[in-house]
């Protein structure tokens, strides 16, 4: 009797859904293109994660390729490869630096822009700081070359005019974390400041008026009013970025570092490592194992950072 009931309910639920689809046929049809595209370009590749356990053969594809013997064979190679471990380390270190400097630059820029009374000046300077966001990484790669090329680079030109010998930047790994942070800040600071500026303009000016009556200095206003009110935005935006710490910006590294293997020790990241395995060296087994580890860690980080962000502010997490 009971079993029968459950069965009925399930059958009913299914019927209800079918009925709903029949009733709103044209609405459901409108979702179909997006559904198919997400299936092809997101869900199908997701099933391809099993490639990490296979002996990848292009002709046989994802499901046809043979399993490796032993099943974790690709991972043995991955974890014994110095350049793979290096790529994982660099990804986390560089993204960590980008996030830390990012918060500092973006919050500072927003505070400074907020302080500017001349509307025209504010508008023009804000537009200029967002401009770099609009050019591709390939173009940024040319910009970087302008500054750091050994023979004609501006930096070396300046050094030479000061009587300091030229530096071969593209073979000095130690300099690149700094250079990459600088380029990252150049490109994204203005864009990143927009969110903070939006929060700042929403702050009730009566807080500041009260503080001024009490004789608070500018610094005190920032420390005791502005920053505490910005805190939730800062924490949430940072959390969401930490969730993506395993994913390097492929475009940035591909366009700026490229094939300069002499600086790989400080600037080769997982995404460029996987790309080389896939398209250049043909070591697809190791590339897919690296991608697998990246996906799994990313998944855990994204979920936990979003749950945490949601705890702080229900509206800011993606789920």
């Amino acid at each position: 009797m009971k079993v029968q009931n459950v069965y009925d309910k399930r059958g009913n639920a299914f019927k209800v859904i079918l009925k709903d689809i029949a009733k709103h046929k044209s609405l459901y049809m409108m979702f179909l293109p997006a559904m198919l595209l997400l299936l092809l370009f997101n869900y199908l590749p997701l099933s391809g994660l099993i490639l990490a356990f296979k002996d990848v053969n292009f002709k046989q594809g994802i499901w046809g390729s043979d399993w490796t013997q032993p099943i974790y064979n690709n991972f043995i190679f991955l974890f014994s490869s110095d350049s793979a471990l290096r790529a994982f380390r660099n990804t986390i270190v560089l993204n960590g630096l980008f996030i830390a400097f990012g918060v500092f630059f973006e919050v500072s820029l927003a505070l400074l822009l907020n302080e500017i009374g001349n509307k025209r000046f504010k508008k023009v300077t804000q537009s200029i700081t967002i401009l770099p966001y609009f050019v591709s990484w390939i173009v940024v790669g040319v910009f970087a070359y302008n500054f750091f090329s050994t023979d004609n680079g501006t930096i070396n030109g300046l050094l030479a005019s000061l009587g300091i010998p030229r530096v071969e930047w593209y073979s000095k790994p130690a300099a690149w974390p700094f250079i990459l942070v600088m380029i990252n800040r150049w490109k994204i600071s203005g864009y990143g400041a927009i969110m903070y500026l939006a929060t700042l303009t929403g702050i009730d000016s009566s807080y500041y008026e009260a503080a001024q009556i009490d004789g608070a200095s500018k610094w005190h206003e920032i420390k005791y009013i502005t920053l505490p009110l910005l805190r939730p935005t800062i924490i949430i935006l940072t959390l969401l970025q930490v969730g993506k710490i395993m994913n390097a910006d492929f475009g940035m590294f591909y366009a700026i570092v490229g094939d300069a293997s002499q600086i790989f020790s400080s600037s080769d990241v997982i995404d460029t490592f996987v790309y080389r395995g896939l398209k250049q060296t043909g070591d697809i087994g190791m590339a897919s194992a690296a991608g697998f580890v990246q996906s799994i860690i990313s998944f855990v980080l994204v979920i936990s950072s979003n749950l945490w962000a949601r705890k702080m502010d229900k509206d800011s997490a993606i789920f």
């Binding site: 997006a34 370009f41 997101n42 590749p45 292009f58 000046f121 300077t125 390939i138 004609n152 475009g251």
Partner: protein, 294 residues
């Protein structure tokens, strides 16, 4: 708010913001300067903020190879226009469906969309799916369709459609309009601000994209502008394979390699710089409303 009083802090703000703006602008000025400098100046002084003397030779030589540049422009313009159009259509339809509360599967479809923002299969499986199963290699649509459906745009548009009062929908329904007609004739015009923002993001994405070209398109004739830039920058001798190589020789005995790299960069970012002042404010507004809710 703080009337009349010029504080140290506000002076410092003006100074620091000016300095940072100059830092942002500097590379652009250097590339313009480089593209206008004679090669011998670049080789002697390096890249400088202002050209020591003006020469248009780099541009002249570049335009002798105009066919290939125009072709890459055509590819990029086609990809940007068609891509942005279908991107808007598909994501707006999906966002609209997710905003209709009467649908029983709404929650399921939302989750289906959101999952794609959380999990990624990574580069290798994606590549194999595109090449082996979808046969996108060396097809021009390969530069468009992988980016068409995008969860972030869908949710952004859904939020906007949710903010439109239900009465709009109901009164149209009473008038006997079908769902698709309501969507096209009533909802899309109301959603113009959100469509402008998403359209701008999508267009910028397509214009600046080279990842799809790099992964999927090897034929030079089908490569977008950004990839041509990369090809010329990494290998200037590429220009000597032009049918006009002999004429290039007449303009300049040796190819001004450095100047040309700069000139081709300017040709690539030109349209963006020109359009930037007009589109920039939609962009800023868009990010401010773009905080996605689940």
């Amino acid at each position: 708010m703080r009337k009349g009083k010029i504080s140290v802090f506000s002076i410092a703000s003006y100074v620091l913001v000016t300095l940072f703006s100059m830092f942002c602008l500097l590379p652009f000025l250097m590339v313009i300067s480089g593209s206008l400098s004679p090669e011998k100046d670049i080789l002697k002084y390096g890249f400088t903020l202002f050209p020591k003397s003006i020469s248009f030779i780099s541009y002249k030589i570049l335009f002798l190879d105009a066919n290939r540049i125009l072709n890459a422009y055509k590819v990029t313009i086609f990809v940007t226009v068609a891509g942005t159009f279908f991107n808007l259509l598909i994501n707006a339809m999906a966002g609209y469906v997710l905003s209709r509360k009467e649908l029983k599967c709404r929650r399921f479809l939302s989750i289906y969309t959101i999952i794609t923002m959380l999990f990624s299969g990574g580069m290798v499986p994606w590549y194999i799916v595109c090449v082996n199963y979808l046969h996108l290699k060396d097809k021009i649509i390969a530069l468009i369709i992988p980016y068409l459906a995008y969860a972030w745009y869908i949710l952004l548009l859904r939020n906007f459609f949710q903010s439109i009062p239900d009465e709009m929908h109901e009164s149209a329904k009473i008038d006997g309009a079908g769902e698709f007609t309501i969507f096209v004739k009533i909802m899309l015009p109301l959603a113009k601000p959100a469509l402008a923002t998403v359209g701008l993001f999508a267009a910028l994405g397509y214009w600046n994209d080279w990842w799809l070209g790099l992964m999927l398109v090897d034929e030079t004739a089908k490569q977008p502008l950004q990839l041509l830039l990369r090809t010329i920058v990494s290998n200037v001798t590429f220009l000597q394979s032009s049918p006009n190589a002999a004429m290039m020789q007449q303009v300049s005995a040796t190819i001004p390699a450095e100047g040309i790299k700069m000139a081709v960069t300017i040709v690539t970012i030109g349209p963006i710089i020109l359009l930037y002042p007009f589109v920039q404010r939609y962009f800023v507004k868009g990010i401010m409303v773009g905080a996605v809710k689940g």
